[in-house]
């Protein structure tokens, strides 16, 4: 593979602020995305800490109910749009060109723009915390008429969402253009690493769903300021229409957050099982089916709005159907481990935990999908537990796994394995202490998005809060590990993990500023090494 890695001797790059502000380099932009996502993870996390502090015991101790609602709302927006999505795009930026043997993303200037929109969008959103009437407090779902009661923050919320949508759509276009046009000669679609596949499918979800959200929030804007009444029954509109629009975006969004995680885990498990991914083709098809089905299940978020029974039955069946391709994925991961030769470095630990905990979130998802029973679960802490299992111990665990897996490639150094494992075990325990009791709270009757509660819920809330604080503090350890790794450490080999497969491991560690300026030659032997 010497033809691939010869170009680091002319590895010159711009310096100073210019390097970052005007960057068109996929690796630098990827790094920006990842650092941004981590920063947002801590801002959103700080809000979660406020929520858990207030819920530590019954009674109002720290914040007013309105501010509490703001925290719930902004925490969700930040974690979804600011942490998980940008982290996924950051990984895509860094890894997709390396994985398909491309020199960069297809549209490097747009790449720069799609990142730099984000800090401005979140400046808009976070500035609302200091406004009259406070930050948006109607929930991240922005249901009218409640969201229309937002004070000065309202247009900031809408435009922040617009900007986030534009940024994501540009990112998605870039990924699609890159993957379809810039694969190394000889690499067919069905030879791409699964991470690339999941991102291509995610990109289509983004392009199909985000404009719908943009349309919906624009209608909110005109309802508030221009006298329309799309969502006002008094003017002939329907508040539930917004929910249909929102969840037509919102459910695919769930998979926008989850599919890249599937891709990450599908890279890591084979690497540490030292065995090819089981059922590659079925993984691709399962991912695609999940993505397609995700457009036909939106109303399962709205079973209680009073849908006609035929609608409820349709959405129940469609929702339950998603369990099938998701199950296929889980079985494939386990079959990949089966009869492998496994080691359990931090990326593998996070991936295995992902498989188990995401599946637990899937189980509660199946329960929620059964309409008559959902009438009990809906909008309770059971739902909160469900989606945090899928998103925190799901998506975020996978992102952590990815960070540990590729840190050697990014920094050229191995991270501190002992600290990484401590980080894993503390995260695993604390996140389960945090979220598992919330199932019980929900079943016992605690609604979500309330700042105060009856003593009947006191015990589990206290346990949950303790888990929450522990999880929050544990993540500081992650920052320390990353900084320590970036500063130095054991030098990483080009193939940092002995079971790791794929073109990204053919370039030196750290990956030089420019890679694959001449496309790699994909001989049969190289192609075999991709799996």
């Amino acid at each position: 593979m010497s033809t691939i890695a010869h170009d680091d001797h002319h590895d010159h790059k711009p310096t100073g602020l210019k390097r970052w502000f005007f960057s068109t380099n996929h690796k630098d932009i990827g790094t920006l995305y990842l650092i941004f996502a981590l920063t947002m993870f801590f801002i959103g996390g700080a809000m979660a800490m406020i929520i858990r502090a207030e819920l530590f015991q019954p009674g109002l101790q720290f914040v007013d109910p309105q501010f509490y609602n703001s925290m719930v709302t902004v925490h969700a927006l930040i974690m979804i749009f600011g942490a998980v999505m940008p982290a996924g795009v950051g990984l895509a930026n860094w890894m997709i060109p390396l994985m398909i043997g491309a020199p960069d993303m297809a549209l490097p200037r747009m790449n720069n723009m799609s990142f730099w929109i984000l800090p401005f969008a979140f400046a808009l959103l976070l500035s609302t915390l200091f406004m009259d009437g406070g930050a948006p407090a109607g929930g991240w779902t922005m249901y009218p008429p409640l969201v229309l009661q937002t004070g000065d923050a309202f247009p900031f919320l809408i435009f922040a969402v617009h900007f986030l949508g534009i940024s994501s759509i540009m990112g998605a276009i870039n990924i699609i253009a890159t993957v379809f046009n810039m694969r190394a000669p000889g690499m067919t679609l069905m030879q791409m690493p699964l991470f690339v596949w999941t991102w291509v499918i995610t990109s289509f979800l983004l392009i199909a769903s985000l404009p719908v959200l943009a349309g919906g929030v624009t209608m909110l804007l005109t309802d508030k300021y221009f006298g329309t009444s799309f969502f006002d029954a008094a003017g002939g509109g329907d508040p539930v229409l917004f929910q249909h629009i929102f969840w037509f975006f919102g459910h695919p969004e769930v998979y926008i957050l989850a599919l890249p995680a599937f891709g990450i885990v599908s890279q890591i498990i084979p690497a540490f099982a030292r065995k090819p991914l089981f059922g590659y083709a079925s993984m691709v098809y399962a991912t695609a089916s999940i993505a397609i089905l995700s457009f036909f299940v939106w109303a399962h978020h709205m079973f209680t709005v009073g849908l006609p029974i035929k609608g409820e039955l349709f959405f129940m069946y469609a929702t339950m159907l998603i369990a099938v391709p998701t199950g296929v994925k889980v079985f494939n991961w386990i079959a990949t481990m089966w009869k492998g030769s496994m080691t359990f470095e931090t990326p593998m630990l996070f991936s295995v935990a992902f498989v188990i905990l995401f599946t637990i979130g899937g189980f509660s998802g199946l329960m929620l999908g059964i309409t008559p029973v959902d009438f009990q679960y809906h909008d309770t802490y059971f739902v909160v537990a469900h989606f945090h299992y899928v998103l925190l111990t799901g998506a975020i665990f996978a992102l952590m796994a990815a960070a540990y897996y590729w840190l050697p490639k990014w920094t050229g150094n191995m991270y501190d394995e002992r600290l990484g494992k401590i980080h894993f075990w503390l995260s695993l325990i604390s996140s389960n202490v945090l979220f598992f009791p919330q199932h019980f709270l929900g079943l016992a009757g605690m609604p979500r998005r309330i700042p105060d509660y009856n003593i009947q819920f006191a015990d589990f809330n206290m346990i949950s809060s303790i888990g929450g604080f522990a999880y929050g503090i544990t993540q500081l350890l992650f920052v320390y590990i990353v900084i320590k790794c970036a500063m130095g450490g054991k030098k990483a080999r080009a193939r940092s993990w002995d079971g790791a497969k794929g073109l990204e491991w053919e370039v030196p560690s750290p990956a030089p500023f420019h890679t694959f300026e001449t496309p790699p030659k994909l001989t049969k032997k190289v192609l075999e090494s991709l799996y």
């Binding site: 009674g59 109002l60 101790q61 007013d64 109910p65 309105q66 609602n69 009259d132 009437g133 407090a137 249901y143 008429p145 409640l146 009661q149 000065d152 508040p239 065995k275 089981f278 059922g279 209680t304 009073g306 029974i309 409820e312 039955l313 129940m316 369990a323 099938v324 199950g327 386990i334 481990m337 089966w338 009869k339 492998g340 030769s341 496994m342 080691t343 295995v352 599946t359 199946l366 329960m367 309409t371 008559p372 009438f375 009990q376 809906h378 909008d379 309770t380 019980f440 079943l443 016992a444 009757g445 609604p447 979500r448 998005r449 309330i450 105060d452 009856n454 003593i455 006191a458 015990d459």
Partner: protein
């Protein structure tokens, strides 16, 4: 020997006590869904348990295989990696089995859902209207027709729930689960419950009935229940509806048909009496006391205990022209009767004397020292006068 057996028995008692003490202390460590008190809620509970067991068994099997592999197929145990990477047979098997499981869950779920959907032939219809942040119940049909109830958080919970109230929520068993006036309904009767809203979306949920339903402004949803046991059942609003979302509980008292009809008669008399208060005359002190009580029950959540509201969300009453200028007495009365902007209308809920007291109170509290005395008669006139509130 006697001593030993005595020691033994007291040890036994101690062990038993230790064993049961945590259980009694754990009365509130509820882990599972409530079975509820309607046939439907019990079927929902069964469906919940079946699904829970199905996923638990699947989980144990799947993770069992996974952990077996994790313990045996590891490099440190000298495991050599196999090379296999696909098998169409197993792929087909693990597509078909989950599909079959799902179909077997979908069939009973469909039957149950169809049963829940049938609201026909109900004996009593009650409409629950949500507003920020209370519930109004109108008995529309059947025994009790014509009764209207306003149901908001009980005063004790309101007091405790204020930030820095210094009061302990642990002292109030039904903290945030109690209302000033519960809805009363008979058992063993098919009751149709309509839900709607005046302002934003709320959701009406009583876990013991087995369902919740959104209350949507401009639309009416319906659902039904046959309650089989007398008792008091508690639930909450479950759709975020603003600052008071956590503070609008739902309390239903289920009584025998006999007790219910007695309650209906009593209620109708009381309701007629409260309509006719325009001739009551109170002195300043009485107005202030009554006004403060009304203020605490109806106004405090938004306008706050100090009358200053919350900047940017709820306007201050302190020094507000409506509340201090002499020309604005009519406007002040009508603003409470008809509401304005986000402020709901109280004209239906509050009697003339209630409104007169709260208007007098707000015109004389927190330094709004207007000295104005508003009597019920003035409110009755404000009701009849042309609207000055847009």
């Amino acid at each position: 020997m006697k001593g030993i057996s005595k020691l033994k028995s007291s040890l036994q008692k101690l062990v038993l006590a230790l064993f049961f003490m945590p259980l009694s202390a754990m009365a509130d460590w509820a882990l599972n869904m409530r079975q509820g008190v309607t046939p439907i809620s019990q079927e929902i509970y069964q469906m919940h348990m079946v699904t829970l067991w199905v996923v638990t068994v699947i989980g144990i099997l799947v993770f069992g295989v996974m952990f077996w592999s994790i313990f045996h197929h590891r490099k440190s145990k000298g495991a050599k990696a196999s090379k296999f990477s696909h098998s169409t047979t197993v792929e087909i098997i693990w597509t078909i089995i989950p599909t079959a499981i799902i179909i077997s869950l979908a069939i009973p779920a469909t039957k149950l859902l169809i049963k829940m959907d049938d609201t026909s032939e109900s004996a009593i219809t009650v409409k629950a209207t949500g507003s920020q942040w209370k519930w109004k119940y109108d008995y529309l049909d059947g025994v009790g027709e014509g009764i209207t109830i306003f149901s908001s958080l009980d005063a004790k919970s309101k007091e405790i729930s204020q930030r820095d109230s210094g009061l302990d929520p642990m002292d109030h068993v039904n903290y945030l689960r109690d209302v000033d006036e519960p809805i009363v309904l008979p058992i063993n009767t098919k009751i149709r419950i309509l839900t709607t809203s005046q302002d934003v979306i709320h959701a009406w949920w009583l876990p013991d009935l087995g369902w919740k339903r959104d209350a949507i402004p401009g639309f009416i949803n319906d659902n039904w229940a046959v309650i089989e046991k007398t008792g008091t059942y508690r639930g909450k609003c479950t759709e975020i509806c603003g600052a008071g979302h956590g503070y609008m509980p739902i309390v239903l008292k289920a009584v025998s048909m006999q007790d219910y009809t007695a309650w209906v008669d009593e209620k109708k008399i009381a309701q007629a009496a409260s309509k006719n208060t325009s001739n009551i005359v109170l002195n300043m002190e009485e107005l202030m006391t009554k006004g403060e009580a009304v203020y605490k029950a109806q106004c405090l959540v938004c306008h706050q205990a100090n009358g200053e509201g919350l900047k940017g969300a709820f306007p201050s009453i302190v020094g507000s022209p409506v509340a201090v200028e002499a020309d604005n007495r009519m406007r002040h009365n009508q603003q409470i009767i008809y509401g304005k902007g986000l402020m709901p209308a109280f004209g239906e809920q509050l009697s003339d004397v209630d409104i007169a007291s709260v208007v007098s109170f707000t015109r004389n509290a927190w330094g709004n020292n207007t000295g104005d005395i508003i009597q019920a008669k003035e409110v009755a006139e404000a009701r009849k006068a042309a609207k000055v509130i847009k």
